[in-house]
């Protein structure tokens, strides 16, 4: 801070000879320019090249599908209750399985979703997690409502996110 304010206060009369003739300063600036020309690029050739986010990334929420082919969700409705944008609709129904209850209907309106991750945080079953999927484009409102068919994702694809949650949640 003091350095910057000092340099700001520098008057023309305070400059050294080398600074006054400008040439070394131009060379310094050009050196930086040329250095960046040969540095590796940040820009990605999206969509040919895809960005793979880290586990902390909050993409679209998905439902965990167990290896047995059953959904983990018990349709308690807490995600639907906590959702600040009211994006989630759950309809529970009875199942013969031991956990008694499953979501007959589970719909997330991706036009309402704000990717806050509260559904994931509140879920008592670790059944809804944020995926790495960020590619969401629709041509009409109806397509933006994702049902169980689009939401259910095998647990094997979500392991790093679940691990991240166990560590930091």
């Amino acid at each position: 801070m003091s350095q910057t304010s000092n340099s700001l206060k520098k008057r023309k009369k305070d400059l050294t000879f080398w600074q006054k003739i400008y040439i070394p300063e131009i060379a310094k600036g050009l050196a930086l320019t040329f250095k960046n020309m040969v540095r590796p690029k940040f820009t990605m050739e999206y969509p040919e090249e895809k960005f793979i986010p880290p586990p902390s990334y909050r993409g679209r929420p998905v439902l965990v599908l167990e290896e047995t082919g059953e959904e983990r969700c018990v349709a308690c409705g807490l995600c639907s209750r906590v959702c600040p944008a009211l994006a989630i609709e759950v309809q529970a129904a009875e199942t013969e399985r031991e956990k008694e209850r499953y979501p007959e209907k589970f719909e997330i309106n991706m036009l309402r979703c704000i990717f806050c991750g509260l559904c994931e945080e509140v879920c008592p079953e670790e059944a809804i997690v944020m995926s790495k999927d960020y590619e969401l484009a629709f041509t009409n409102r109806e397509d933006a409502i994702y049902g169980k068919d689009k939401l259910l994702t095998p647990v094997s694809q979500l392991e790093d996110r679940i691990e991240f949650l166990r560590k930091y949640k």
Binding site: V74, G77, R81, E100
Partner: protein, 558 residues
């Protein structure tokens, strides 16, 4: 009056009252599970432990009779420590089932765990496992693990339903509730145990998993099932009734209602058979038409018929307002004295607890507001006979099914020149109707019912019809109703194009040339209050939530 001091507040009590009763009367809530104001004292949950000065140990407020000068502390360190300990004990074997438990959101144990427990369990051992999902009766599901053994359900069956079916078996942490050998929890009042169960051990089979309590709106109303007129709450989500629960009214139903009322009186509201928009018979088939077309058609067809050849049948299922307008419409617009309603009685339905033999909610009200034969007019038997004789050419039937009482009429209804029906649902009679108007059900309108005691009670709209906006109408709103848009599937519940009968008939009178100017049901009621002596001095505010007793010369029990 003797006085007792609870938490520094001096309150009066009646001799014989217990501490918890005296506190409740003065708005002090002492936490409790097993105590219920209408059941005997059992004293086994220990949640209501309070400190009483000069007593060596803590006492349970539900079983300790208050005495003059007693000083009670419900928030002293000792009382709080005892409550925490009781909660910890109760939670030891209570499963962490809340996500799949229907009681979540209205669970006493859940609420008290937030209010009165330390929030952490020191219990590391395996919880006791018991039977889950036991169908203890045809309408009630039992989960033994969730039960906290408060015995409310057992005492309810013994004392209120007068049909002992449940009992405790085993001891200690293995204690569980079961039915007596060869018995089922199937008494006509069995579902009240679901309401009084402080946890989710007993759940409603019909409502099971249908909705979360916080997603529904609830509206105070009156049961439609019989002349008792039990006070109820209607629970609605996405414009669909999902369950009914009793509401406390000491004069009528106390805390209870029967299973018939709870299960069989709301499903027709959202059923497939609902009449949606007016229908006119064209080439033998009922065709949907607009309201104006239906009114014009009705008016032109009624005009051509002689006054003496018209009969009007009111309805004990409709409100006082509907019946008042029906009677007014019959007398001053149609000019006929042939007006009566059909009585639906079943003596086998009645019992000495709540159920009445009159299966309709408003037969007394219909009669009081003028749905009865006027000067030499025909009564219901006379109307039916005259239809058979061909003397009646036009019949207007309000919210009822004429064929359900006399099947022979089938051949004669078809021969009527005009047969108009205001119906909520298509029924046997609408099969022969020339014009059908869609009537709003009891869950879609404001109005009043008069029960068999002569008590006038209000019903309120819980389900919106097509012309109603929940918020503008002042109806109960759930969170989903508040924020839903037409693009949300969870806000697109079916709205029927139906109107209250008083509204249909007053529009029809306007088309027929006699102006009736009522904006809302309350206007009709206010006119009733000024013209019918029994209703004198009443308005919707006076009736309030719990109803008002009419001054009747003789209570006309059907």
């Amino acid at each position: 009056m003797p006085k007792i001091i609870i938490d520094g507040k001096e309150i009066e009590f009646r001799q014989g009252q217990t501490i918890i009763e005296a506190a409740k009367e003065h708005g002090i809530e002492i936490p409790h599970f097993c105590w219920h104001p209408k059941l005997s004292v059992s004293g086994n949950c220990r949640m209501c432990l309070v400190e009483v000065e000069k007593m060596p140990k803590l006492v349970i407020a539900c079983a300790t009779v208050a005495s003059d000068g007693m000083v009670v502390h419900t928030e002293s360190p000792k009382a709080i420590a005892a409550r925490n300990a009781v909660m910890e004990f109760l939670l030891i074997n209570h499963p962490l089932d809340c996500p799949i438990c229907d009681e979540a959101g209205e669970c006493k144990l859940q609420d008290y765990a937030y209010q009165h427990s330390l929030g952490e369990s020191r219990f590391v051992e395996e919880k006791v496992h018991k039977d889950k999902r036991v169908k203890i009766g045809p309408r009630v599901m039992f989960d033994a693990e969730r039960c906290i053994s408060c015995s409310r359900c057992i005492r309810f069956c013994d004392e209120i339903a007068k049909d002992p079916e449940l009992t405790f078996v085993k001891r200690g942490d293995r204690v569980t509730i079961t039915t007596f050998p060869g018995e089922e929890l199937d008494n006509p009042y069995s579902m009240n145990v679901v309401d009084i169960c402080p946890v989710g051990a007993l759940t409603n089979v019909d409502f099971r998993f249908k909705a979360r309590v916080w997603d529904m709106s609830h509206t105070n109303s009156i049961c439609f099932g019989c002349a008792r007129g039990c006070n109820i709450e209607i629970w609605v989500r996405n414009n669909e009734i999902l369950r009914l629960t009793p509401r406390h009214n000491e004069e009528v139903n106390s805390y209870w209602m029967c299973d018939h009322g709870r299960l069989n009186t709301f499903k027709f509201v959202n059923s497939e058979t609902r009449v949606d928009s007016p229908h006119i018979r064209k080439d033998g088939k009922l065709v949907r038409v607009g309201w104006d077309e239906a009114f014009a058609e009705t008016a032109s067809r009624l005009k051509s018929i002689n006054k003496e050849q018209i009969a009007v049948i009111g309805s004990p299922y409709a409100t006082c307002e509907d019946n008042y307008i029906t009677s007014k419409f019959a007398r001053s617009v149609l000019g006929t004295n042939n007006i009566d309603f059909i009585r639906h009685t079943d003596y086998s339905f009645a019992d000495d607890i709540l159920r009445r033999e009159d299966l309709t909610p408003n037969s007394l009200g219909a009669e009081l507001v003028g749905v009865r034969p006027q000067k030499n007019g025909l009564n219901i038997e006379g109307i039916i006979k005259s239809i058979k004789d061909g003397k009646i050419k036009a019949l207007y039937l309000i919210e009822d099914d004429l064929l359900s009482i006399d099947h022979e009429l089938e051949n004669y209804l078809a021969k009527l020149e005009v047969f108009i029906v205001n119906a909520t649902n298509f029924n046997q009679s609408t099969n022969f109707a020339d014009i059908v108007f869609p009537a709003a059900t009891y869950a879609e309108k404001n109005g009043t019912f008069v029960n068999f005691q002569g008590r006038v009670q209000r019903i309120r709209p819980a389900v919106a019809t097509i012309e109603v906006d929940r918020a503008l109408e002042g109806m109960a709103l759930s969170r989903l109703d508040k924020f839903g848009t037409k693009f949300d599937r969870w806000a697109q519940g079916k709205h029927f194009d139906a109107r209250a009968t008083w509204k249909i008939l007053s529009s029809l009178s306007n088309v027929l040339g006699s102006k009736m100017k009522y904006q809302m049901a309350e206007d009709v009621f206010n006119e009733m209050a000024s013209s019918i002596p029994e209703f004198k001095g009443l308005d919707y505010d006076v009736i309030g939530e719990l109803g008002a007793q009419l001054k009747l010369e003789k209570v006309n029990v059907v």
